[in-house]
Amino acid sequence: MASSFFAAKATSSSKLTSKQRVEPALQPWVEKYRPKTIDDISAQEHTVAVLRKTLTSTNLPHMLFYGPPGTGKTSTILALARQLFGPDNFRNRVLELNASDERGINIVRDKIKNFARQTPRAETVASDGKVYPCPPYKIIILDEADSMTQDAQGALRRIMETYARITRFCLVCNYVTRIIEPLASRCSKFRFTPLDSDSAALRLSHIAQAEEIDVDKAVIDELISTSAGDLRRAITYLQSASRLSSSSTPATKIKPVDIQEIAGVVPTAVIEDFARILGIEVQNDMVVDDSPPRVDGRGGFEPIKKYVKFLMREGYSATQIISQVHDLVTFHPTLNGRKKSKCALVFAEADKALCDGADEELWVMEVGLRVNKAVLS
């Protein structure tokens, strides 16, 4: 499968990329605001500190970057490479292979061999007048390396050794355990952590300022909580929200609910109503004029079924509903551990079932009924 996949690919993929030019205004912000130097990288202080030293020394180890999506792995290595070689030499010194579609064993052999074979030469003063260290080796970036086959990784081992004198490898991946040990042990490992909320807030505010859009702290907070440390997602949501708010007439300010809608989050009020029907007490910190009708979760089957039907008609996704009910239960101040544990079981079962493609309505219902039973027990 992998090899024929590769064969189909090789004919058409390479010549495409260079033609694509997107006007800056229409560029996705995630690309537009990709850090240019390693000092632009938010958080990840340890990694940045170590890499900064490599800018002054002439040596660089093989590297392995790992961590969850949108934490700056690809950006860091690209920025580092640019700072090492400058704009003129970047092209002939850095090879970026995106493993997600070029993962056949042949690619690893041919492309890397060809690239590594050409001897590096360099002028250190670049056309932009700056001086770059331009150390005497090339960098090969293997992005999304965890989706490379074991065979391809095995082949890489030899290649790394053969060209060790003139190349440095940087493997980038989400799951470090999917990199075979002999490869991993040849590299210095750098762990990228999900962005803390302060760093994320800073970066998002910076982008908002540069785009001249007016965002409240509440919106930033919402972005951070819906994206869970994935800055790429946060930036994408921000751009979508700004697109929508600026194109509505009259232009309106971005509101936290807009972010929720874009992220596919079920409105808090809806989840809280559901929770009440299931018998979970929900604090109401908002002052509502007419207090909602008392529901105590003892209404039995019918109200739960009715509410699940409503959720389905509204089109909310089951995984999203369940993850929000999960959070509400798990962090609930008064439910006891025993009840929470019973709920935990059904959340796990539901997640597995949905991954297996189960019917969404049946499983939201199942979660509702079992949480209800656990809470009343």
Partner: protein
């Protein structure tokens, strides 16, 4: 002569009834020059497809309505032929990759690459990009979704993708984070009634409110179903007054019969009887999940409160197994046995826990 659902389908964003906020947003996006990839999701018959084609028209003008339908043949890695129907205009192309079964990745890759490579030929086109509509996106395999992930970033300059799905649960996170999500909820009962009335007016008759309400209640938020029922009723009794009986589809009546059989007697002989009925339904291509859900809901309506949750639990339990298993009938039958034993246990207070 086409059906009313097609004949009176709104053709422009302005003509869309309900969810006006959504229509405004789509209009604004179409005008912005910065049109993103999009994911429309919501229940069946809520108006996703209608909204998508109205958006296309807003983007490209009436040229998108000149459609041609082609059959294309793709080769799987093992050189098997995969035939796919493709609907296209000069500005867009529409595919339903689930037609390709396990080979959806091949279709997605080949087709999208082909489109990405061809520039817009029509110099007068309003947009530089072509739109690719992918129907039933939630049934795309993981492989096909992974193939999309890269393509969506690389070919942004001359292609936009619009995904249409019932739910976002089965789409991988990297795809969702590259799209603008558009949730199309089912219309409310009042909104549905308004659509039925406006269609009636355009056909040239008055819809009595009671009839309208009845149709709406019966159709569970599915506007397509409501319109089909309206047309059928109008054929049967042209004045639409008096007590209306909305004929349930045969399979539904049949499912209800099955439920009644389960509730009225619990015995091995009855299991066999029910099994024959399941076979009958399956051989008429009623999806097994629909059978299970319809029967279960009816059973639950007829039993004691204390049994309802358990019956639904086992329905959920066997539905997933049925999906992963091969023989649908086994799982349907297992569920029936389970329900019957629960029922007996309830009535005779027999301890059956060893069967769990």
């Amino acid at each position: 002569m086409s059906l009313w659902v097609d004949q009176y389908r709104p053709r422009s964003l302005d003509a869309l009834s309900y969810h006006h906020g959504l229509s405004e947003r789509l209009k604004a996006l179409a005008a912005s020059g910065d049109f993103p990839h999009m994911l429309f999701y919501g229940p069946s018959g809520a108006g996703k497809k209608t909204r998508i084609s109205c958006t296309l028209k807003q983007l490209f003008g009436s040229g998108v309505e000149k459609l041609k339908i082609d059959q294309r043949v793709f080769l799987s890695p093992s050189k098997r032929k995969i035939e796919i129907n493709i609907v296209q205009s000069n500005y867009h192309i529409e595919i339903t990759p689930s037609e390709a079964g396990n080979y959806d990745r091949v279709v997605i890759q080949e087709l999208l690459k082909e489109i990405a490579q061809t520039q817009q030929v029509d110099m007068g086109a309003k947009q530089r990009f072509k739109v690719v509509i992918i129907n039933e996106a939630d049934s795309l395999s993981r492989d096909a979704q992974a193939a999309l992930r890269r393509t969506m970033e690389k070919y942004m300059s001359n292609m936009r993708i619009i995904l249409c799905a019932n739910s976002t649960s089965r789409l991988i996170a990297p795809i969702k984070s590259r799209c603008l999500l558009m949730r199309v909820a089912a219309p409310s009962e009042d909104e549905m009634l308004a659509v039925l009335q406006s269609v009636a007016r355009r056909v040239g008759f008055d819809l009595p409110p009671e009839a309208g309400t009845k149709i709406v209640e019966d159709s569970n938020g599915n506007l397509r179903k409501a319109l089909l029922v309206l047309e059928a009723l109008k054929m049967q009794s042209p004045d639409l007054t008096g007590p209306l009986s909305i004929a349930k589809p045969d399979w539904e009546v049949y499912c209800h019969k099955v439920a009644d059989l389960i509730v009225s007697e619990q015995s091995p002989a009855r299991v066999m009887e029910v099994r024959t009925k399941f076979y009958e339904l399956l051989s008429h291509c009623i999806p097994p999940t629909v059978i299970l859900k319809t029967v279960a809901e009816r059973v639950v309506d007829k039993v004691d409160e204390s049994l309802k949750a358990d019956i639904m639990h086992w329905a959920a339990f066997y539905e997933v197994r049925m999906r992963n298993g091969n023989k649908k009938i086994y799982h349907l039958e297992a569920w029936v046995v389970k329900v019957m034993s629960l029922y007996k246990q309830f009535f005779y207070n027999i301890d059956m826990s060893e069967f769990d």
